[in-house]
């Protein structure tokens, strides 16, 4: 199909948001000055705000709404060395029909797999509306040459991936080579064609909140459609605080450029209670425009069953158990 791939030197954000940040990416020095000029983040205050929003009590109708919304936002994920077509097909079936006892359950947003499983996922999901997301760019470490990473992306897109989850070069970021990170995102974005691009920062490796804010802006300037916390493969993955910080970033970016960008916390969100806390963060930080699976996702696997059990509890009044949801 004909695509108008953005020129590798300018991202879509500039096209839509005006040239206000064009200077910021003109050189490594300019990019550093821009990113280091962003307001600082006070860690104690940030975490206190996230914790405070975590005390919201979401009951009855609000809970039912939140559970269905959360299910619809899941990128149901399997990223194991032991993945097989059978495993992926089972997961796809689960994504399309999460609760066999209750057809009113929403479908998940996507199934997220490695590139070599993208074709299998695409075939299994065809016509369902559930997207195929594929990690790429030498996920999860990202330690490969650029052309290898781009080939990885190309493969995934060719196999039918609707969404690409790339990892940034954390080594380059931590050593201050921001332009390298930026240009790599641009190149991947160009390779994505129509596929939406999620940029994974691996916040657990970036370590500081200031770094996470800088990475968020870097990713958004480079044309990310989503900014994503983590691979799920390191010790610290999505947390309420780092997700809150990224929600502030997309909120501010849209105010300044008019471009809306999605957020995807991934890894470590396992319970309905946790998921609802994240939705409260979305609601009270970025706002209701983000309460949609086009703009917010959960990278998760075991979360789905917990949401389904809570959903059953709301409809039957009885607590459910793991024998009443499917193992996939």
């Amino acid at each position: 199909m004909p695509t108008t791939a953005p020129s590798p030197k300018r991202s879509a954000a500039f096209e839509q948001g005006g040239a206000s940040f064009a200077d910021a990416t003109a050189s490594d020095g300019a990019l550093r000055r821009f990113l280091h000029g962003l307001p600082g983040v006070d860690a104690v205050g940030l975490e206190a705000r996230a914790a405070s929003l975590g005390t919201r009590s979401i009951k009855t109708t609000a809970k039912a709404y939140a559970i269905d919304l959360a299910i619809s936002m899941i990128d149901l994920t399997t990223l194991e060395g032991a993945d097989t077509p059978g495993k992926v097909r089972a997961l796809a079936a689960k994504a399309v029909n999460p609760d066999p006892t209750d057809r009113t359950s929403p479908r998940t947003a996507a199934v997220c797999v490695y590139p070599d499983m993208a074709a299998t996922a695409a075939a299994a999901l065809a016509g369902s509306g559930v997207k195929v997301a594929s990690v790429a760019t030498a996920f999860p470490a990202g330690r490969a040459a650029l052309d290898v990473k781009l080939a990885d992306v190309r493969d995934a897109v060719a196999a039918g991936a609707d969404e690409i989850d790339m990892v940034i070069d954390r080594g380059a970021f931590l050593s201050g080579r921001y332009l390298k990170v930026y240009e790599e995102i641009l190149a991947v974005k160009a390779e994505c064609g129509r596929a939406r691009l999620k940029v994974i920062f691996e916040t657990g490796e970036l370590s500081t909140y200031d770094n996470i804010r800088r990475a968020s802006w870097l990713g958004m300037l480079a044309g990310a459609d989503f900014i994503k916390t983590s691979t799920g493969k390191v010790a610290v993955n999505a947390t309420p605080a780092n997700t809150l910080l990224m929600l502030e970033a997309v909120r501010d970016f849209r105010e300044q450029t008019g471009v809306q960008i999605g957020v995807k916390p991934a890894g470590g969100i396992r319970t309905s209670k946790d998921a609802i806390k994240f939705l409260v963060l979305v609601n009270e930080t970025a706002g209701e425009d983000w309460l949609d699976n086009h703009w917010f996702r959960f990278g998760a696997s075991s979360l789905l069953n917990d949401l389904l059990m809570q959903r059953q509890k709301l409809s039957t009044g009885r607590y459910s158990g793991p024998d009443y949801v499917t193992v996939d």
């Binding site: 307001p39 104690v44 205050g45 940030l46 705000r49 609000a62 809970k63 709404y65 209701e288």
Partner: protein
């Protein structure tokens, strides 16, 4: 605010607290009617529902209570510190055990959100008793010389904004040091002090060590006046504080006064802006702004003023005002009709003097006393809203150009209780803090309290410190 994600009501259960239809005064370990039989009603400010009827203490009751405290003093002060400690530890633990009940009670009587009573007031109350319990047997190490002696009978008068917490700030250090007390809670919030009296009985505290007199200003005045009171501790308005200072002139009574404030919250252009916005909100809208140390004046550097105000208004629009017992409520009711009229009058004066008013878009309930979160821009040092303590959810925004101008404006008040500084530059924090004439300075945070940390004012915000090792001095003969 209509949103796709509309939080359903999540009310905390009222059934955890059992409020009796009437209460007496707590004197010498017994609940008793006022000598003249007078009573008054206490209402829930969020609904105007009458919660209970309590005895109204008069001068005769004050005398009875002081005599009971004096009788108890000899034995109480002679107890080994380690034994006094164990009583206070017991009280701390019972408060922890009953904290949900007390939180609901406080929310009902005061009007503040359950989120605050549950997550701030009650944990701090228990912590305060726990902290001072530990001092009771360590007074020799407190830096006041060997074997410091208590003063005797302490007359304590507390306000309605943090009823149980102010009680803790008063009673815990007094008992730890070996004093006995007569405490008068505010007339609009008498209930939690009476529940505390019950906790004293559960803890087996000897009779007369703690006496609670519910009543009005006349009872407070009689308590201050009583010749057998050795120590006066007051938290409340500066006007009453001055009256007390005059009353005790020429006596041997020792006093601590914790009075009003007009705290400056100073935001520099290199502040962590999202956290600064939260700090401003906490600073002035915590407890509906009915906080003596509230950051009621926002001093913002001109270069970031527009950006900051934009963020602040956006944030204020997400505040949830309503039923204080709802766990999602951020802004509760104003404590009384009287206080609401005072706030309203001051806000009207702000508008009349030409300041620009903005109020958060929120619906106010039809019953009870409510005021929407409000801020004034175009405020100068000359405006009433920049000078008078409003004691409500009203923020006055002023601007500055340089750090020394910020300090000059911050100090340009008769008060000196609190201040805030927002900047990522450490040396600026310390330089500015060094110049501020305020008893508590928060940097990149606001309205933080801890039993180990001394609190109190400069200038007309009062004198003496509560909390920490310093808080012992007010109750020791040193």
């Amino acid at each position: 605010m209509a949103s796709a994600f509309d939080y359903a009501p999540a009310p905390e259960s009222r059934s955890v607290v059992d409020i009796a239809p009437s209460y007496g005064l707590f004197i010498d370990g017994e609940f008793t009617e006022a000598a003249d039989g007078k009573v008054f009603k206490t209402v829930s400010p969020s609904s105007e529902e009458v919660l209970s009827e309590v005895a109204r203490a008069g001068a005769e009751d004050v005398d009875r209570a002081v005599k009971a405290a004096r009788r108890a003093f000899e034995k109480w002060s002679a107890l080994p510190g380690s034994e006094r400690a164990k009583y206070l530890f017991r009280i701390a633990r019972i408060i922890q055990e009953r904290s949900r009940e007390l939180a609901v009670l406080e929310t009902l009587d005061n009007g503040k959100p359950i989120r605050e009573t549950r997550d701030a007031d009650l944990p701090l109350v228990a912590a305060h008793f726990f902290y001072y319990a530990g001092w009771a047997d360590k007074l020799d190490h407190a830096g006041y010389g060997a074997n410091p002696r208590p003063l005797g009978v302490a007359g304590q008068i507390i306000p309605w904004n943090f009823p149980l917490l102010m009680l803790a700030w008063k009673i815990a250090p007094a008992l730890a040091t070996g004093n006995t007390v007569v405490l008068k809670p505010a007339e609009t919030t008498p209930l939690s002090a009476l529940f505390f009296a019950d906790i004293c009985r559960q803890a087996g505290l000897p009779r007369g060590v703690v006496n609670i007199l519910t009543g009005y200003g006349d009872a407070g005045s009689a308590l201050v006046e009583h010749p057998d009171v050795n120590k006066v501790a007051f938290t409340g308005s500066t006007a009453v504080g001055k009256a007390i200072a005059r009353q005790i002139a020429g006596t041997d009574k020792k006093a601590t006064l914790e009075l009003g404030g007009k705290g400056a919250n100073i935001v520099f252009d290199d502040a962590p802006v999202d956290q600064a916005v939260e700090g401003i909100v906490t600073g002035i809208f915590f407890n509906q702004g009915q906080v003596c140390c509230a950051g009621s004046r926002l001093l913002v550097q001109e270069s970031v003023q527009d950006e900051l105000l934009h963020s602040l208004k956006r944030r204020l629009s997400t505040l949830r005002l309503g039923d204080p017992l709802d766990k999602n409520t951020d802004i509760g009711a104003i404590n009384s009709e009287e206080q609401l009229s005072r706030i309203t009058a001051l806000v009207e004066s702000g508008e009349a003097e030409g300041a620009e008013r903005w109020s958060a878009p929120c619906e106010l309930p039809s019953a009870g006393y409510w005021f929407a979160p409000t801020l004034f821009t175009n405020v100068t040092q000359a405006h009433t809203v920049a000078r008078d303590e409003i004691f409500g959810p009203v923020l006055s925004v002023l601007s500055f150009r340089t750090p020394d101008e910020a300090v000059a404006k911050a100090n340009n008040t008769q008060y000196g209780l609190s201040a805030g500084i927002w900047t990522e530059k450490g040396s600026r924090i310390l330089a500015v803090a060094g110049k501020l004439r305020a008893g508590v300075v928060w940097a990149n945070t606001f309205n933080k309290f801890d039993p180990t940390s001394p609190f109190g004012g400069y200038k007309e915000s009062g004198f003496g410190r509560e909390g920490g090792r310093h808080g012992l001095e007010a109750y020791l003969d040193v």
